[in-house]
């Protein structure tokens, strides 16, 4: 409980490069290390473990550019990677302190994994994906000019905005208008006779 150190950076958990300068680095028999240079800089990639030996705290380190076979235990005092150590300790603490992951039972609140598309889909007009056959009526009671559209292969006609129809099936719209075109003009001989029928 009292071992935690506050991490110096909050936010993202990043692997930091840490430099270690030590002239007193213990050389183990199986280490592959160049002995010519007095001061070597090795970069710690990650802190893997912790132990106490003869009252001294030591950490097991993974070195950058080296394989896991080259991991070494180093005394705490030799190290200058406080963030990596803090990260390790945080992990240990959380694991120990009983964070509990989601149980997986959601009491049926979860979103459906599959959905069937019912016929009650409020698909209207062009969204139904049908081909216009002809317009059988028009209205502007909705505030906007709408056409009653008869679709091919369907007996359900429905309303479509004129704006949409003008673009999507202009010839159908033109047919509709032409079929209903009437000329209002001053009566001539021919049209007088017409009206009597």
């Amino acid at each position: 409980m009292s071992q935690t150190t506050e991490p110096s950076n909050d936010g993202a958990a990043v692997t930091e490069e840490a430099k270690i300068m030590t002239a007193e680095k213990e050389k183990k028999a199986d280490e592959v290390v160049e002995e010519e240079e007095e001061e070597e800089e090795y970069v710690v990639e990650k802190v893997l473990n912790r132990r106490v030996v003869k009252g001294r705290v030591e950490y097991l380190l993974k070195w950058k550019g080296f394989s896991n076979e080259d991991n070494t235990w180093e005394p705490e005092d030799n190290l200058d990677c406080p963030d990596l150590i803090a990260e390790y300790l945080q992990k240990q603490k959380s694991a120990h302190e009983g964070k509990r992951k989601a149980a997986g039972d959601t009491d049926g609140d979860e979103s459906k994994s599959k959905k069937k598309k019912d016929d009650n889909e409020k698909l209207r007009g062009f969204a139904r994906g049908l081909e216009p056959e002809r317009i059988i009526g028009a209205t502007d009671s909705t505030g906007e000019l709408m056409f009653l559209m008869k679709w091919k292969h369907s007996d359900e006609a429905d309303l479509v905005p004129a704006k949409e129809a003008n673009v999507k099936c202009p010839q159908v719209v033109i047919s509709f208008y032409e079929e209903r075109l009437t000329w209002h003009s001053y009566p001539s001989e021919d049209e007088k006779k017409d009206d009597k029928h």
């Binding site: 959380s94 302190e97 964070k99 509990r100 599959k114 598309k117 139904r128 292969h153």
Partner: protein, 495 residues
């Protein structure tokens, strides 16, 4: 310049001009006749109570022609298998309608009839959008069934065809493909990863634009959430990285269905190891999630709370991000929410925050989380109480002596003593651990006797003594240890 012929033709279409009187009369008469016929048919249909959109499964309505549709499987098969485009469309539409019934759609019959290959082949007919659409809808509903049903759809080669359809210029067809792929992804991790391998994600994300209609975005968000869903294994990290930016975008919209599914997606992504949680919190989405915990729609609050609950089950850093985003101001409300599952999830999140360092425990105290915690310990439903008990024990484990004293004074000790009567052995063990931790804190103050007396006064001694006879070995062991250590002073009476 239009030729004279064309002009004449067009003039002939005009209502009155260009027609001779006799023709006009004929026209008027035939129009009247048609109207009378239509009225007669309509009244017949009304009396027979038939509409052309009801499904007499076994009988055809009339000899099939261009305007009536047969719903008999044999006719559907014949039509779909024919080479006539119109027949194929009729058959596919009939199949689609059957498969869209709310009650018992005949999925197996359609599959057994061997129509899936045909439907899949129709998907690629870009010059026949109606056919594409009907086939896509039919396949969507087949894929919405059991795992076996979905398997049939996939094994007939639908995946590639649907992914290609995503790019269709016809929005409703593209949307149908989104839906179908959502069903396939939702089957499980295996098909999810198949879709990801087939590059479904870039194709989906390409359809997101400021002009995309809300309905389309709803379907798309749901499909994305299914691509984030399921564990063993989790979705590939590269896929997650691809999807996250768009999910974040979607989380800033206002539509409740989009928000709900986007939050579910985040909840799936954060349900895992701390590495996975890290990927999520790095997007900076935590404040928005806390905000959504406060949303008025239950369908949004629930997955938002689940996401935050997952995040605070991560590292202390992750938890701190949630605290900094204000989660402690929202939790008290949720602990008092009328819906028990909300209370339970809130208590679970609280228990994980209480499992953090004492600095975070202090924030629990400062933000007044103790009173609602004690309330649910007293009055919550059992599942909620279980989570609340964990909160208490975690608190006693990580808290300083002062903080533990505070906890005892808040009434939590009394409340957990009352819970010692439950049947659940695990809960009892957790409570006894809390009591033990409290004694350890008391030791530091030299006040163990005081605590023993308090527990006795609250009726705890009696219960712990009885627990020494509990059938569960760990329970009676733990109870016995407590009695030995703290209650076997000669001064205390042993009942």
């Amino acid at each position: 310049m239009p030729t004279k012929n064309v002009v004449d033709e067009r003039i002939a279409k005009f209502k009155n001009k260009g027609k001779d009187l006799a023709k006009l009369r004929e026209k008027r008469i035939s129009a009247c006749v048609q109207l009378r016929k239509a009225q007669k048919n309509e009244s017949f249909l009304k009396r027979r109570n038939i509409t052309l959109s009801s499904f007499p499964d076994e009988e055809a309505l009339s000899p099939e022609n261009k305007d009536t549709v047969s719903f008999r499987i044999e006719d559907i098969i014949k039509n779909v298998n024919s080479d006539d485009r119109e027949a194929q469309t009729r058959g596919s539409q009939a199949a689609r309608k059957l498969l869209s019934k709310s009650h018992d759609p005949p999925i197996k019959e359609i599959i057994d009839a061997g129509l899936l290959s045909r439907f899949v082949s129709f998907l690629s007919m870009d010059n026949e959008p109606t056919l594409q659409f009907e086939a896509a809808w039919a396949l969507t509903n087949i894929a919405s069934g059991t795992s076996w049903h979905t398997q049939q759809v996939v094994e007939h080669g639908a995946v590639t065809a649907f992914i290609n359809l995503l790019a269709s210029p016809m929005l409703h067809i593209s949307e149908q493909a989104v839906w179908a792929l959502g069903n396939i992804a939702g089957d499980g991790a295996a098909y999810r990863d198949v879709l990801i391998e087939c590059n479904v994600i870039p194709a989906l994300l390409a359809r997101i634009s400021p002009d995309t209609p809300v309905g389309y975005l709803r379907n798309l968000t749901w499909t994305l959430s299914n691509l984030c869903r399921n564990k063993n294994p989790c979705p590939p990290l590269s896929a997650v990285q691809q999807m996250l930016p768009s999910l974040i975008q979607l989380l800033h919209l206002g539509d409740k269905d989009i928000l709900s599914d986007a939050c579910w997606a985040i909840s799936y992504l954060s349900d895992g190891s701390n590495d996975r949680i890290d990927v999520v919190v790095r997007t900076g989405i935590v404040p928005r999630l806390v905000e959504l915990m406060n949303n008025k729609e239950l369908c949004v609050m629930t997955p938002a709370l689940r996401s935050i609950g997952n995040i605070v089950s991560g590292s202390d850093l992750h938890t701190q991000m949630a605290i900094d985003a204000g989660v402690l101001d929202v939790l008290p409300k949720l602990l008092r929410h009328p819906k028990p599952t909300m209370q339970k999830e809130a208590a679970w999140a609280l228990s994980n925050i209480a499992a953090g360092p004492c600095k975070q425990i202090q924030q629990l105290i400062t933000c007044s989380l103790l009173p609602p915690l004690v309330e649910v310990l007293r009055n919550g439903d059992f599942k909620t109480q279980k989570e609340a008990v964990w909160a208490v024990t975690n608190f006693t484990s990580g808290g300083t002596v002062e903080q533990v004293v505070h906890l005892v004074q808040s009434g939590a000790l009394e409340a957990i003593i009352n819970l010692l009567l439950v049947k659940d052995a695990k809960v009892i063990l957790v409570i006894l651990e809390a009591v033990n931790n409290m004694f350890m804190a008391a030791e530091k103050l030299g006040e163990t006797e005081k605590l023993s007396l308090l527990i006795e006064e609250l009726g705890g001694l009696e219960r712990i003594e009885m627990l020494q006879n509990h059938s569960n070995e760990m329970v009676y062991q733990a109870a016995h240890n407590l009695i030995e250590k703290y209650f076997s002073d000669g001064d205390l009476e042993e009942v």
